[in-house]
Symmetry: C2
Subunit: 359 residues, 2 copies
């Protein structure tokens, strides 16, 4: 028996980071030749990509290994495909923060705020905020193009890559569509749990777990039955993950989430948590939600009032039960999946970590 | 001798439009299955792509034909690559209009204004403008992903497509970089003709003519010498085209440009025209420019004052001379290029049309 090289979560994340760093260094080199003024734009992208859990690349990697993809030189190619997914995620976050007007991301100022601050400290002309927004839009556009460049240039042979192209394309379209629906829900007069779950499905559940996993599997020529199990596992886990994210967005510790406490409430996000609270609310509780949700100036005591409604109506319990149920479904699908034992172990670990109460 | 099928500008444009329409109809079908609420997003994209001169697809097509690419079934594949370039251009315009805060595009309301108006008339919650901006960002993101999907899915065989991939990637990165530099120049205390021309080069000159032409040539395996001539022709013509666009942005007829008169002045664009005026301005003229350029509330009489400075300093004459000189260089490069006679004729016609005084 030969020893298996078995990348743990941290070392896999490091390999993905190395691919990203090398790619960005090459781009930085080309762009510096165009103009040194592009430095701030590159920095915004580089800074963002230094953080994050890099879940999508991990699911892509294990989707491939689980389908029998070898732990040899080829596995570097799949790490590169995973890095392309992280680059796409960076684009989504850059634009999301502009659209939501978020101040922070991963505990640091969001890119548009960082660029606005540069404008301000340099005493440049015109609006600092407009400069920041435009810079972050362009930074996101660069990441979108680069994601594709990294995917196509991963070194995975064309015929093999073609098997994953459909899911890559579908993922990109559906994430944008999901983000539009998210924003659309926020401006509607009311919401329902069913509508909030539809947003979750397209914006996040498919994209966080299922699509990366199926992509990795497709590249390893996984049989249809395995891909179907991956989908079951991925959709259930992706929803559990998003629900956990929603809970952390209201009850999470800011030092761990990297976002101010109650930020989701201030932005008026129509999460399943909020929808469940509204469905269960009495008149007075409903009035509290209508009065406070989405107020940009919501203070600590307003956050506390909304938390009280979410707990008091039983919405938090309901969502915690949903998380447990979805995680259970995901793990059952994994047990039934014909994956290699190493991949089963790694995917189980990822599933539990992604939905645990710590951020 | 067999008769040559010889697509004129209008019929080529129609073929590109058909490819775009068919692609969009497929996406519309998929997105409608996700949610009917996505209709407005699709409409914004479809509406934008119905207009425009479709210059980039024309240059791509003739770059390919000029390098000996045949006028047979394969030429449909190049039309599809050209359509991918138009999809990329749509993304650039959607985001550009958000960044510039432009009200109109191609004579119609810009996408972000159209979506803000929908929000307003439906009486939805929150800020109509923020909804419009977010929708247009997402519409642009969709177009960016779709551009890549169309390029890769064009049907051009992988090995052949790989020859054009580098230029496609470079184009995307440099357009974003150029847009950032454009915005960067607008907030600097002063500008020079040299700096304004650097912006033109990356934002527009390479991208409008040179890169599509070289892309088409590369796909037809053009020899290095022809590609070098294409570059010469394309860079010179691209700059002439952008200079013409700058002149039309100040002096053009709104019914032909699709933009209100003097819109570039209102947005404070640091064009070569403005830079040339400032370099030639006396004290009083400089004061007029500093007082009026970039004022969102600039009225007819303010536009007239600025025009007067641009004419009076000789800046307009200077730029008209630059246009004539660049067009001459472009045509000389074309004469020296070993292209097929049909392509030479078509490229000459495109060059003259793209830089003529009519919009």
């Amino acid at each position: 028996m030969t020893a298996t090289r078995f990348p743990d979560a941290a070392s896999l994340r490091e390999r993905v980071q190395t691919v990203l760093d090398e790619f960005l260094a090459r781009q930085d080199h080309s762009l510096a030749a165009v103009s040194p003024d592009l430095g701030a734009l590159m920095e915004a992208v580089t800074e963002l990509l230094r953080g994050g859990k890099k879940l999508r690349s991990a699911f892509c990697y294990w989707g491939w290994r689980g389908a029998g993809g070898a732990d040899d030189a080829d596995d570097e190619l799949i790490v590169r495909v995973g890095a392309a997914l992280e680059m796409f995620q960076a684009a989504a976050l850059l634009h999301d923060d502009v659209m939501d007007g978020s101040d922070t991301r991963r505990g640091r100022p969001a890119a548009h705020r960082r660029l606005a601050e540069l404008h301000r400290t340099q005493g440049w002309k015109g609006s600092s905020d407009a400069f920041g927004v435009a810079g972050a839009i362009l930074a996101g556009d660069l990441c979108l193009s680069w994601s594709d460049e990294m995917f196509t240039g991963s070194g995975v042979p064309d015929a093999q890559l073609a098997r994953g192209r459909g899911i890559f394309d579908q993922m990109r379209t559906e994430v944008m569509a999901g983000q539009y629906l998210d924003m659309f829900e926020q401006v509607q007069p009311s919401t329902t749990v069913a509508r909030a779950r539809r947003v979750i499905r397209y914006k996040s559940a498919q994209y966080t777990v299922e699509q990366p996993l199926v992509l990795g599997g497709s590249l390893a020529a996984a049989p249809a039955e395995l891909l179907a199990r991956y989908s079951e596992f991925g959709l259930a886990l992706g929803e559990a993950f998003q629900l956990r994210d929603d809970v952390l967005g209201v009850f999470g510790d800011p030092t761990e989430t990297g976002k101010p406490a109650g930020d989701d409430l201030r932005e008026g996000k129509r999460t399943t948590l909020v929808a469940a609270a509204l469905e269960r609310a009495g008149e007075r509780e409903e009035a509290t939600v209508r009065r406070l949700l989405g107020r940009a100036d919501l203070d600590e005591s307003g956050v506390a009032d909304l938390r009280q409604v979410i707990v008091g109506t039983g919405a938090l319990d309901h969502v915690e039960q949903l998380i447990t149920a979805r995680l259970g479904e995901a793990l059952a699908a994994l047990d039934a999946a014909p994956v290699t034992p190493a991949a089963a172990g790694a995917l189980r670990e990822l599933a539990v970590a992604a939905t645990s109460r710590a951020a």
